[in-house]
Subunit: 450 residues, 2 copies
Amino acid sequence: MAMLSRILEPDSIAVIGASSNREKWGYRILRNIITGGYSGKVHPVNPNKDEILGMRCYPTVIDLPKGADLGIIVVPAPKVPLVLEECGRAGIEGIVIVSAGFSEIGEMERENRISGIAMEYGIRMIGPNTFGFINTHLNLNASIIPEMSERGGISFITQSGTFGLALVDWAVSQQMGLSLVVGVGNKADVDDSDLLEYFSADSHTKPIMMYIEGIDKGRRFIDVASMVKKPVIALKTGRSRAGRRATLSHTGSLAGTDRIYDAAFKQAGVIRARVIEELFDSAHALSMCKPADDGIGIISNGGGAAILAADLSEDLGLHLTDLSGGTIRMLKGVLPAIATPGNPLDTAGDASYDMFKDVLSIMLSDPGINAVLVIYVHAEMVDPCIPAEAVIDVRERCDKPVLTSWIGGKGLGTAIKLLKEKGIPHYPVPERAVLALNSLVRYKKILQNK
Amino acid sequence: MAMLSRILEPDSIAVIGASSNREKWGYRILRNIITGGYSGKVHPVNPNKDEILGMRCYPTVIDLPKGADLGIIVVPAPKVPLVLEECGRAGIEGIVIVSAGFSEIGEMERENRISGIAMEYGIRMIGPNTFGFINTHLNLNASIIPEMSERGGISFITQSGTFGLALVDWAVSQQMGLSLVVGVGNKADVDDSDLLEYFSADSHTKPIMMYIEGIDKGRRFIDVASMVKKPVIALKTGRSRAGRRATLSHTGSLAGTDRIYDAAFKQAGVIRARVIEELFDSAHALSMCKPADDGIGIISNGGGAAILAADLSEDLGLHLTDLSGGTIRMLKGVLPAIATPGNPLDTAGDASYDMFKDVLSIMLSDPGINAVLVIYVHAEMVDPCIPAEAVIDVRERCDKPVLTSWIGGKGLGTAIKLLKEKGIPHYPVPERAVLALNSLVRYKKILQNK
């Protein structure tokens, strides 16, 4: 654990294989570290250069006057064992090997060799064949991901293949608030379980999001995941016959039948997402909301949207609470005459501040309601920030989760930004909000069984 | 039918209740018609004004020197019977009543009265209580929707409540290519079935998208929908117990148990979508692609993405074709050594023009393959337009459907635009592409049973 913090929270970094050629990873990673705003020491290492990006360049890590916490290795694969050994001799105990050309192309022996060196010197190592990592809380982009992500509470452990990288890229472009993002690569040393353990103790990490193609040490994964006191949500591919066949050829390791993963996730208390949007949307809710017991409420100014959300809720097995007599009476007191109090609740077009404030407060006060989805369907001539402000104000005085979906065309941007800033999850369609809400309920059940 | 074209393809329009007050619908609709670029004649009608928006204003429709094809009524509900009668006397046979205040608030008698007037004068009428309609091929935005949609092949029939309006707003903001959009309102005369019949004959309309809360004349709907020689895809709310309960209070009419709708859609050959994204995404594919027999192929440069798509395909009951021996041999000839030919097919990271062109051509030439999903996962230092161009070039010489999903962060915009311009459906996540592909297969099955 202490060793992993050497890698993921370094005070100083050596980029071994740093380059001034813009086409090379050795340039891009160095540049990403600098432009990300990392405040620690950064040392380019390259025997053929005196200076890169205005920084003094050292021939080898052994020449570094004060060593480094972390060595990022970007040299061609055949040279990796040599420079790794030099890192060991220089006392660098945290390593990320970005270089490819190991077990993923059948070079098992080369990979075993670096594992041996790491063990010999007591090095902890992520990779090889990884895109690197991001630690937003240190402004540290030690990866080939071109854009630094927004700071937030979600940590992400992912396979490092092209798809894993594209997923991170997507998360970044969606302005998802991330804490730590790590590409596991070939897992010659550090694997998903090690990272889970580390993230579990990390103060910035709230939920942990995982993209998994296969796990080798199943027993350890279950043991570690069971101990994590944070929500873990995983997208694991290869559920299908065709998918499993392809997994076999894709990773070169047996992915196992899917039922085993299902059972393992269940035992370990991991929430399994079926599609990309469910993974990201659930992590978004889990990073902002407390888990919730079943028993949900749905409110909208447009009846159809509320009904649609109710439909999907029931599909997922969520329970729409039958409101208490007292709640119904209170709702009658504030709703327009043409609206009928109920759940889902339709305000019959009224999206005023007072209406949204009143119905949301009343619904949240019902003891059978544990979470509420508020759907605003955009009506011309209504400022969509007004119902958003009502939700924000009510939410501040209540700790039951409130999720939102503002539906309409352009012009919703400011309202959505407002909700996000106040820590209220927002989704562009109500069905995605329902799936995320379902994850809050699933996580509560997991906690009760832990 | 001829009468409906008087409404939806008018040569001249009278806006009855036109206003110069920017806060009023009577202003907004007139302005939307003008700014949309409609080239027909437009006449504001208002007894209290001489001129609105620089146009001569007439006291009543009877004063219009040459009458009008279409009258759009925006006056307060109590005045509607009078102005409708004037329309009848002036020989205006196509009417849209935007005004609310009829059966939706319990004013059945008032609604019956206007139905009687319409019948007396042989008027066809959409509404009351509708947001109006858009005909992109006439640049005609005769609605309260603030933005004109892009021109395209999808026509949309929708409930006119706030949610229906927000859905249109959303479709417009998504740059969905639309032909005709009509809000049915209270259906005092023209209903979903009449519009289906009309859209069926409309040369610009390819698929027909419907958002339905309830249908009154079920038998006629089934008869009409069965005859439509275009794909019809519908989102019908109220599947759930809670949803149905709410539908009852929302529309005031019995929505019927959901199983009846399921059976009706099946009999009528209507594809039922379960969620908003499925409705829009399927219409997008159906507007650009021919229907396809089952037997699909999946290609990606990132194995995980292909497996994810394969997983969902199997969930939906789609069949991933076992490639023929000849296809496998040809694939072996072009794939990198580390890649294994199969379906889903992983190019092992290679997203070059030649690789995408070769594998897509070969897969499409397999007689067991009826449609292909191409997934590009963005790798740094690859121009995402290059694999897009490969897909475009292959697609031009083949009429099997090809759908795409380009996954990654910013910087994919140009490639996605390119695909769209060339009529290749694109989706931001592969799972949404799979759902859309499934609709192409479902529609082919419907055609075979018609």
